[in-house]
């Protein structure tokens, strides 16, 4: 992981909340057809929360994951994509970032353990919002209170009644 962009060392809760609220269609690059892989867990969870998740994986192109046809590349997706979720390693995130810019995505999101500051800088220059080294499932669960159900420290303090 390259780390040169200090504003990606931590994110304010409001920022993450705004990003998750602002997207509807997510392209998940590196989605697995194996039901017991982390990407499958995340896709299933995000679908339950009302997102459309389009799987992208050239080695599984044409197959189906959780009711969605797997695409060979981001460019093949026939509908507008709001967010590209990178379930690949940090090096692979570089070319994926360029494709995300090319298809006009609004958000580039890199999974837990994935960070590529050069790619992030290019995406930000092209007007995308970038989140790195986070999982949208865990962040969604954390901010809506569900992560705390399992004993995790969400960092959220509020005396307002939670609404999803």
């Amino acid at each position: 992981m390259t780390t040169t962009l200090a504003h990606h060392d931590g994110y304010a809760d409001d920022h993450i909340r705004k990003v998750l609220k602002g997207v509807k269609t997510i392209a998940m690059v590196g989605a697995s057809t194996n039901w017991n892989r982390p990407s499958y867990f995340a896709m299933k969870y995000l679908q339950q929360k009302g997102y459309r998740v389009i799987p992208v994986n050239p080695s599984a192109a044409g197959e189906e994951i959780l009711g969605e046809k797997v695409m060979a590349s981001l460019a093949e997706i026939p509908v507008p994509v709001d967010m590209v979720d990178v379930f690949r390693n940090s090096a692979a995130a570089g070319p994926i970032a360029d494709q995300a810019i090319a298809i006009g995505a609004k958000v580039l999101w890199m999974q837990l353990g994935v960070r590529n500051d050069e790619a992030a800088a290019r995406a930000e220059k092209a007007g995308l919002t970038v989140i790195m080294n986070r999982c949208p499932k865990i962040e969604y669960g954390r901010l809506c209170g569900e992560l705390g159900w399992h004993g995790f420290n969400s960092g959220v303090i509020s005396s307002k009644r939670r609404k999803e």
Partner: protein
């Protein structure tokens, strides 16, 4: 929280962490969810829950909404990633080791522990095939010397029971780090208000919440907190976390859950299969207790300091082992690790030995003669005639429970009243001895 670097203060988190208003009813205090199970939306939702693919409740042996508020509360106060609450401090110790140890594995522990922990580590754990090597913590290098290739953790009480003893945690944490194994610290006597073991390099913290966290002597409980910083997948030492788990169709905890792995394992494997669940009502009482933790600990240490100073100058007292006293050998370690005060549990020696010790505990009126600590009430016990009765005099001496030893857990009554009560009892012990 609007700024990425902003965190609420300790007192605020003691009251609010984990406890937003109930989303359904708006109830402001945390409801007691006295239920065993939770309905599924449909079969697919049930499957997602059982496969750990989504967050949610299945059965209260694993998770419960009242208990999870306590877990998040304590995780927040210790600065950890997540926590697993359970039935008692002893259960917490089993759960803390469970993800780390296979049968045949070993660990190194300080020998300055609560006597019940020594028995658990050296006798009961043997039945699981776990071997604990106990060492004198006064010299941190003793931990390194006792390490074997099969050792999977180092365990210590930072502020040790029966009291007065402080372990120099920082060098021990370094030894654990160099050995590639986590350091587990029991922070029961200090609480996160007085000491934050993660700041000194601990990887896992355990508590008996029965003591100062609940604080009112009315609720049993324990908790295990993971810092989230130890990489369990870095070596092959921790296969339960870093290798595929057959009970979950070959899921690998570290790969799927990242830094949540240890705590997810604590619920999904530890509580599921060992079963020492905390009762929701005990979680409620403990949550309520923690709301005043900072205020209570501040007064506990103030009172303890006053009582220790009184005893130090008392003619019927031969010695006082409280690290808040300048002459105490642990005074400088106390200043480093427990700057707000070294707790309120300590021992003193009464002149006249066994008989005088018995007379003191039988003569107090305000202090309660019982085997617990960390209560609003001041507590007293004579270990040689109670908790350490089965041991030989020599073993009692090693355990810090010789015939003349009296242990105190100073509560929140008026300090002058605690002092007066002890003064009267000590006078009677002198009469007895004479």
């Amino acid at each position: 929280m609007t700024d990425a670097n902003f965190t609420y203060g300790f007192e605020t988190r003691s009251i609010h962490a984990g406890a937003s208003p109930d989303p359904t009813t708006g109830a402001r205090s945390t409801p007691i969810f006295q239920t065993t199970a939770y309905v599924f939306d449909d079969v697919d939702h049930a499957a997602s829950l059982f496969n750990l693919q989504t967050f949610g409740y299945i059965y209260s042996r694993l998770t419960n909404p009242t208990v999870s508020v306590l877990e998040e509360r304590v995780a927040s106060l210790e600065g950890g990633r997540g926590a697993t609450a359970c039935a008692s401090g002893h259960a917490a110790q089993v759960l803390a080791f469970f993800p780390l140890m296979e049968s045949g594995d070993e660990f190194v522990a300080s020998k300055k522990l609560y006597g019940g922990s020594v028995t658990q580590f050296t006798r009961t754990f043997k039945k699981f095939g776990w071997t604990g090597h106990l060492v004198d913590p006064a010299e941190p290098e003793n931990f390194r010397k006792a390490l074997t290739p099969k050792c999977k953790a180092i365990f210590l009480e930072i502020l040790a029971n029966p009291g007065g003893i402080i372990v120099d945690v920082e060098p021990v944490a370094k030894i654990a780090r160099e050995a590639g194994i986590p350091l587990i610290v029991d922070n029961t006597l200090a609480t996160p208000y007085l000491c934050r073991p993660f700041d000194w390099g601990a990887d896992i913290i355990v508590h008996s919440t029965t003591k100062f966290l609940s604080g009112h002597g009315n609720a049993m409980g324990g908790v295990v907190i993971d810092s989230g910083k130890f990489d369990y997948a870095k070596s092959d030492k921790f296969p339960a976390l870093s290798k595929p788990e057959p009970a979950y169709h070959g899921l690998t905890f570290t790969e799927t859950f990242g830094d949540l792995a240890y705590t997810i394992h604590g619920h999904a494997m530890g509580l599921r299969d060992l079963g020492p669940t905390m009762a929701p009502v005990n979680a409620f009482l403990t949550i309520t207790g923690i709301e005043t933790l900072a205020l209570r600990m501040e007064r506990h240490v103030q009172n303890a300091q006053k009582v220790a100073e009184f005893l130090e100058s008392h003619p019927a007292v031969s010695w006082v082992s409280y690290a808040g006293l300048k002459k105490n050998p642990y005074y400088s370690l106390a200043k480093k690790y427990l700057p707000k005060g070294p707790g309120s549990v300590f021992t003193f020696g009464v002149k006249g030995g066994y008989e005088a010790g018995v007379k003191v505990v039988e003569s107090v009126e305000l202090l309660s003669h019982l085997a617990n600590l960390g209560d609003t009430r001041s507590l007293i016990i004579h270990p040689a005639s109670t908790t350490h009765r089965q041991l030989t005099t020599e073993q009692q001496m090693t355990a810090g429970a010789g015939p003349d030893v009296v242990r105190l857990s100073i509560g929140l009554e008026s300090a002058d009243d605690i002092i007066r009560d002890l003064d009267v009892a000590l006078a009677k012990s002198v009469k007895k001895a004479a």
